[in-house]
């Protein structure tokens, strides 16, 4: 497998005085929509929220839909435990998000864009609104027919799921929808919608600024470019780092670990737990373990039972509750490991629960319930004795 050395990058937070975000917009919308889409596809950019859908294709599909009204939505409902990079982007370089949204709007033919920002980030609403107003004014002055609006979430994790986010924006209970139809066909207000993660939108703007070549020179065949990581846990240097994709966990832990790293949870609560013995052959990227950016480092003082218990408590509470596998499945997993720990169920009950997660993975309605299997199986498989004893 193609592998890269750990390399710090400075694209997301970098600032080019000769080509500011609004100038990127001006420069880019002189091109045709088709050529922008080609650049996006050529760059190999995949969604940075975690699911990794090719951004250029998403834009293309939405452009191809016939509709008077289309929307661009920035998913800033950053709720995955251990992820805090969007917050930093919103704080430091929001203009790059606006720029990405405007270019997307130009490509697909949208006149309205929304930033759905998680309720816990409301403290930054005031300053962000000022920056949005300024940018909107610039768009207006330059006769670009596009305006950006802010929407605040209300604190449910599931509203980061795109269709639940639309429901929430429409004033309804935040519950994921049945798919199809997908957002590119029927999203917000049942209109064709591009919904991209904060970081993805910044990269689209950066790709337009520097060209796809420079972006795709980074990373591997399946994971082009760089990515912003939120590093937390047992590390002396917790924080936010933009790194080239394709590094091994071994390299990562050498730079970020505290020398006693037992495991890393890659991709937040819904991601995978990788034990030390697998650091060497685990690549961070879509060919290995994809991540929305969360890297939680655990050293040998941590009980993996407690880690799993915490995650399951989180999912039990944050399941929207509408579908059976997720609502009840999460509760059974949580109560199940408690029962095994207390000796009320035999250790082999863990295997019954693993089979349950296999069902949740394919039968739950949305990504929330489907991904609970990731932490469960990876922790139970690698730290079984810690769960039982």
């Amino acid at each position: 497998m193609e592998q890269k050395q750990l390399k710090k990058i400075d694209i997301i937070f970098g600032w080019d005085d000769k080509c500011t975000p609004i100038q990127v917009v001006e420069k880019t919308i002189k091109k045709t929509a088709e050529s922008i889409i080609l650049d996006m596809i050529d760059s190999g950019l995949k969604g940075r929220g975690g699911a990794g859908f090719p951004t250029g294709l998403k834009w293309k599909f939405t452009r191809n839909e016939e509709s008077d009204v289309k929307y661009v939505i920035c998913n800033a409902d950053e709720g995955e435990p251990g992820t805090f990079k969007d917050r930093e982007i919103l704080d430091r370089v929001p203009e790059k998000i606006f720029s990405g949204m405007t270019i997307c709007a130009y490509v697909i033919g949208a006149r309205e864009g929304y930033i759905y920002i998680r309720g816990e980030y409301n403290f930054m609403l005031k300053t962000l609104q000022q920056k949005v107003d300024l940018f909107n004014q610039q768009l207006h002055d330059k006769k670009v027919d596009f305006q950006i609006y802010l929407r605040s979430g209300s604190g449910a994790y599931v509203c980061g799921e795109e269709s639940a986010l639309f429901e929430s924006m429409e004033g309804k209970r935040g519950e994921p929808r049945n798919k199809p139809p997908y957002p590119t066909v029927a999203g917000y207000n049942s209109k064709p919608t591009v919904i991209n993660n904060v970081e993805t939108l910044v990269y689209t703007s950066e790709i337009c600024r520097m060209g796809p070549e420079q972006f795709k020179a980074l990373g591997t065949k399946d994971s082009r470019g760089s990515k912003v990581f939120s590093v937390s846990g047992d590390t002396p240097i917790a924080g936010i780092y933009e790194l080239e994709l394709g590094m091994s966990l071994k390299d990562f832990v050498e730079d970020f670990g505290d020398g006693d790293t037992k495991a890393i949870q890659v991709g937040g609560a819904s991601g995978h737990c990788v034990p030390r013995k697998k650091f060497n052959d685990t690549i961070i990227g879509f060919e290995g373990i994809p991540t929305g950016g969360s890297m939680m480092i655990f050293n040998s003082s941590r009980s993996m039972y407690n880690v799993l218990h915490d995650y399951l408590e989180f999912f039990t509470e944050e399941s929207c509750g509408q579908c059976t596998p997720c609502r009840i499945g999460c509760q059974q997993l949580l109560k199940g490991i408690e029962a095994v720990k207390k000796g009320e169920r035999p250790p082999t009950y863990l295997d019954d629960l693993k089979r349950l997660t296999a069902t949740m993975k394919i039968a739950a309605k949305c990504g929330l319930g489907q991904s609970v299997a990731n932490p469960f199986t990876s922790i139970v498989d690698n730290f079984r004795e810690e769960i039982i004893y």
Binding site: G321, I328, R355
Partner: protein, 597 residues
């Protein structure tokens, strides 16, 4: 736009269906049954129970067949190993959250979850019991509907019913995750919120989480009491649906057998709510004509038009909550059930020489809201509670079974007299448009002396299952005393299901409508689709019940309310004339403004 045809294979069998068809429906056409729980033909697609998942070749996820449209070349397996394991997990998960005290449950034998559990017979329930003790506390605040949260499987059929069909939203999903429940505004008791008691949620609840407050034991107790004279009245729509709970196909008319069964059960007199339906037409028809005269002749601007019917207690309570500014438009007539009770404990008690305090009036209704209605404080004009107990069609079926009566072997019998005779106009009260049709048959004839100008008296424009129906009848050749109506176009409308009613009321509120008279029934299809009728319900079942109602009408010799000889007799002997002093005392009522929360 013509639809494309899509080719696919289900369990290796090729089929061609229209674009947009769900996998579930396509499989049905090939006679592959896929189990469902949250799916209901009257409601929008939820796709949340996941019992109906199937495997689609090449897809990473299983697909909820109720929510997934077919696509070209799709290969579906409805019974693969993956599907069977997932279905088993889903059912076992649901059972782990469900208070499965089936033998003690009111819905025992009528529960979709129980049916599936019995179909799959998993012996090895591995999951931990999640039923919360607090959920086992029943909500018995409502005289109509009992809620048992410990039986709820969160399929949200009740919520969709309450919002989509009824526009009431008394029930909603609240909280999330393990705390998610179906509840009311601020988790208040059902009787303290906007619930109209229509019972449509009961008709669609797959388990025992919602069922009627039942009065079966109270009624048996009254029947056994030698000091009580127990009179029973039967609503129009019960006679075309009761059979469904006793092994017959939908659309079977069982009027005579029902009368026979009631007699065998020990009721002292078996009488008919249809009688007071005819009486309602006399009172309400006169009320309409009086209001028209005040508006047209006296130029009285305070007169409230359109006149709104008031037979449906779910609709009346809806109006009290949602459109308090229009409650004076409601007819002051009591519903036929309550007219019956008031007459039974006064006029009839005298007639059969029984003291009113020793009389018990039981009514058999297709309705749960009637249970609330008989408990309204206004409904005691006889000096006693006019109607003591209301049983749903379903409760009656249970009692017939408990009494050991072989229903299908019964000979037809007739109602007792007096208060037992009725017309075809009365029986059609049981379906949407029926009250309107009955009223027009009588009012037109009173005004002109001629029959309504429709073939066989069948006023087709107000029939059928369209949500809102309209009709206009031009009044010609009036009798001299009604000449102010000469040439007037009488505009009427009919709505059934409260979401349709809401739409119509908003139109009235806007002042843009020109209706004189509006019939509203709270339930889809009218009383034939009532909240007390046999379960299941669907558009097809309601259609067959309605056809049976119209057949019953056609089979009657007398088909106009004003020709009911017993009605004439009661006016002659007791009430004198419509809207007379006695009528006002016993047959009319008033309404109260209720808050929305």
């Amino acid at each position: 736009m013509s639809k494309y045809m899509v080719n696919l294979k289900i369990n290796n069998t090729p089929i061609q269906v229209e674009e947009g068809t769900t996998i579930l429906d396509a499989a049905k056409r090939l006679n592959f049954r896929i189990p469902t729980l949250c799916n209901h033909p009257d409601l929008s697609v939820a796709g949340n129970c996941r019992v109906c998942v199937v495997e689609v070749k090449g897809a990473r996820l299983l697909a909820a067949s109720c929510a997934t449209p077919v696509s070209e070349g799709m290969e579906v397996n409805t019974n693969s190993e993956k599907v069977r394991i997932a279905r088993k997990h889903v059912l076992e998960l649901l059972l782990s959250e469900h208070n499965a005290d089936c033998t003690k449950c009111f819905k025992n034998g009528h529960c979709e979850l129980q049916e599936l559990a019995s179909e799959y017979r998993y012996g090895d329930h591995i999951f931990i019991d999640l039923v919360k003790a607090k959920d086992k506390i029943l909500d018995i605040s409502s005289p109509s509907i009992t809620r048992d949260a410990s039986k709820c499987i969160r399929c949200q059929r009740c919520v969709r019913t309450c919002t989509e069909l009824q526009a009431v939203s008394a029930l909603a999903v609240v909280h999330k995750g393990d705390h998610q429940i179906i509840s009311t505004f601020l988790n208040k008791p059902l009787n303290d919120v906007v619930c109209t008691n229509c019972g449509q949620c009961i008709n669609r609840c797959p388990t025992g989480a919602l069922y009627e407050r039942n009065y079966i034991e109270d009624v048996w107790h009254a029947i056994y009491d030698p000091n009580k004279f127990v009179v029973v009245e039967t609503a129009p729509a019960t006679r075309v649906a009761l059979g469904e709970d006793l092994g017959l196909e939908p659309g079977h008319r069982v009027t005579g057998k029902m009368v026979s069964a009631l007699r065998k059960m020990g009721f002292n007199k078996v009488l008919d709510t249809d009688f007071t339906a005819d009486l309602t037409i006399m009172e309400e028809g006169t009320e309409l004509l009086t209001r028209l005269k005040r508006a047209l002749v006296d130029k009285d601007e305070t007169v409230k038009l359109p006149l709104l019917t008031s037979c449906s207690p779910g609709w009346v309570k809806f109006q009290e909550h949602m459109f308090p500014d229009l409650i004076d438009n409601l007819s002051s007539c009591k519903s036929p059930q309550q007219m019956f009770g008031a007459l039974a404990k006064t006029y009839y008690a005298d007639k059969v020489n029984i003291k009113a305090e020793n009389m018990v009036v039981v009514s058999i209704m297709p309705c749960t809201a009637k249970k609330f209605e008989c408990n309204r404080s206004e409904m005691r004009d006889s000096g006693f509670k006019d109607v003591d107990y209301v049983l749903t069609t379903r409760e009656l079926a249970m009692m017939i079974k408990q009494a050991g009566i072989e229903f299908d072997k019964l000979e037809d019998e007739s109602y007792d007299s007096i208060l037992g005779e009725s017309t075809g106009a009365a029986v059609i009260f049981g379906t949407t448009g029926g009250v309107m049709e009955a009223a027009l048959r009588t009012a037109y004839e009173i005004i002109t002396g001629n029959e309504v100008p429709f073939t066989n008296l069948n006023i087709q424009p107000v029939r059928g299952m369209e949500g809102v129906k309209e009709a206009s009848i031009k009044i010609k050749n009036t009798k001299p005393e009604w000449n102010f109506l000469e040439g007037v176009e009488l505009n009427v409308a009919v709505a059934h299901g409260l979401a349709n009613a809401k739409q119509l009321m908003e139109l009235v509120q806007s002042g843009k409508s020109n209706y004189h008279f509006i019939e509203v029934m709270g339930c889809p299809g009218g009383c034939i689709g009532g909240g007390g009728q046999p379960i299941p319900t669907s558009a097809e079942i309601r259609k067959r019940r309605a056809e049976a109602i119209y057949a019953e009408d056609m089979g009657k010799t007398i088909r106009k309310s004003h020709e009911n000889p017993e009605v004439a007799e009661v006016y002659k002997e007791y009430l004198t004339h419509p809207l007379g002093h006695k009528s006002h005392e016993l047959l009319h009522t008033h309404y109260k403004v209720r808050k929305r929360y």
